[in-house]
């Protein structure tokens, strides 16, 4: 029986820039930041109230994971905004939207009442987009 999710990955174009976005703009906490040799880094962050869910900010690099030009293809797809990885939650969407906009975060959709709930869509520094909702 699966009981919990503890790691999830987001593919990013640049880990330094993602650190700035997720930690300094979104206010996520660094869980593990481990140098793994020249130019390599294992970087995970957690939403402020979910310290046991590690979001891996995964660099797209040539190697075992991405072979034969797949890394470049993946980078292009991320840049184009192909991937929507997750739904985040806040206490109050209108206020969080205003605060995130004040920090320069780009939104694809402002808070909107949809048939399934109240939702906004924002984009990270790489081009990944996320849904943002609020607790009922």
């Amino acid at each position: 029986m699966i009981t919990r999710l503890n790691h999830v990955s987001i593919f990013v174009l640049n880990q330094d820039s993602s650190y700035e976005f997720y930690v300094n703009k979104l206010g996520f906490k660094v869980h593990t930041d481990a140098p793994m040799g020249p130019g390599k880094r294992w970087l995970t962050v957690c939403p402020p109230e979910q310290p046991d869910l590690e979001i891996t900010l995964m660099a797209i690099e040539d190697g075992i994971m991405f072979k034969n030009g797949a890394a470049e293809q993946m980078r292009e797809l991320v840049k184009k905004g192909t991937f929507g990885f997750a739904v985040f939650e806040c206490y109050d969407l209108n206020t969080t939207y205003e605060e995130m906009k004040a920090k320069g975060i780009e939104f694809k959709k402002p808070p909107t009442k949809e048939f399934y709930g109240y939702e906004a869509l924002f984009v990270d520094d790489s081009g990944n987009w996320f849904s943002l909702g609020q607790k009922k």
């Binding site: 593990t32 481990a34 140098p35 793994m36 040799g37 390599k40 190697g63 969407l93 209108n94 109240y118």
Partner: protein, 145 residues
Amino acid sequence: MTKEFPEIYLCKRIVQAKLFIDNHFSEDIDLNNIADEAYFSKFHFIRLFKTIYAKTPHQYLIKVRIENAKALLEKNIPVNEVCNTVGFGSVSSFAELFKRITKLSPSKYQQQFKERQEQIKTVPLQFIPNCFAEQKGWIQKSNFQ
């Protein structure tokens, strides 16, 4: 949380108040002044702030100070210096509050963080799920284990 959504102009004022706390947490903040600047009565301001952030402004200020204290302790800054930098008047009240919230004294927190960083540096693969380490080609490098 069930409530009416605050009007957008109310949101902006509350956001400004929250950002004011974020940027001035180390100063001697008078929450009455923040309520005045946001054009709210103190009662209305506290109620709205708590509706939005699930904490009163005072509780939020404490949270911001403690989070910033953690960040400074992680940089190996001495406890008394951290206490002053984040806006607490006395080391004993800071230490007591810090322990109540984090379950660790500031010095113990600092020590544990330092030990963990040392572990991450010397045996990073203990912190990375094997499937990822394998895909990255890191498990072949024995110096990471």
